[in-house]
Subunit: 198 residues, 2 copies
Amino acid sequence: MARWEPNAPQRLARAALTLFAERGYDATTVNDIAERAGLTKSTFFRHCNDKREVLFLGQDVMTARLAETVRAIPPETPPAEVVAAVLDAVGVFFPSEYRSVSATRATVIAAHAELRERELLKSAELASAIESEARAQGRGETAARFLAAVGLLALDTAYRRWIADPDGRSYADHAGAALEEIVAQASELPDAARARRG
Amino acid sequence: MARWEPNAPQRLARAALTLFAERGYDATTVNDIAERAGLTKSTFFRHCNDKREVLFLGQDVMTARLAETVRAIPPETPPAEVVAAVLDAVGVFFPSEYRSVSATRATVIAAHAELRERELLKSAELASAIESEARAQGRGETAARFLAAVGLLALDTAYRRWIADPDGRSYADHAGAALEEIVAQASELPDAARARRG
């Protein structure tokens, strides 16, 4: 009978990232990861279908949390506040002590096409969660899709800058700055359209 | 020696879509596609690595065209006009007579996870082309990424509505409407952020 292992997904993900940093993604086996996490290979396969999946173990939790966050936001809330809430909600996944493993993870993903494809799928799931919860809250199709696109852009911008920041500023700092810049960009879109019509 | 076949990619793509509509994606072989296109199997494999690739044969041409379009736009051009130019540039790929095969293609992609992954990769390539050309034109990081995100949202919205439109309105009509709605959404983002600060 399968034993219940506390925090198995987190332990597997951390062990995998440590090993990928030490010896590279290709040279690390599923056995290595399970052993480093102090778990069995069969526990590994209860949580992941394959080695590439181990890098995305936390993602479903994050998507669920985002969906929950958007679901709890009243429909009349201005879109910039929804995006701010989305950025806030994921902050818990990016504490400062995860910065260097997150950077390693990003490097590994960038170097492997099949991991990059998986990451795109996970981002699409995040966007789709934001969109469908926003629609369920009564927002229109374009409003919901715009929220999802801007939310993803803000998340991705904040995350990229956070992992690459040599000064180690927090994810929350980067998230705030990213949102302000995106809002500034958004403000240029309608003005130009008006100028064109007028 | 390989014979040069005029329009082989287009012929393969059309043949594939016709067969997918007739007998389904899974029941169609590479041989069937080559035969229907009046081409050999080896011509098929000169253009596609596998069956799923045949659905994305036109995409690289579209990405190249988009890149060229953005490259030709002066850096001081307002972002809404860049998005309008992007929407215009791809219109040539969506003439009315392609609407029903495009709808079939979308249905096939939606039903197969590996095709959905490939489509996300192709969309990411489109976004990345817009972003890097906009940066090369001197736009800032966030400006270029915002343009790419909004451009993709507009393209995708217009495309989805075009293939699903029972009244058969043109892609250009849907593109214009999508852009207006997105600009209206963008106009709400800064107002709300200002209201929050103020």
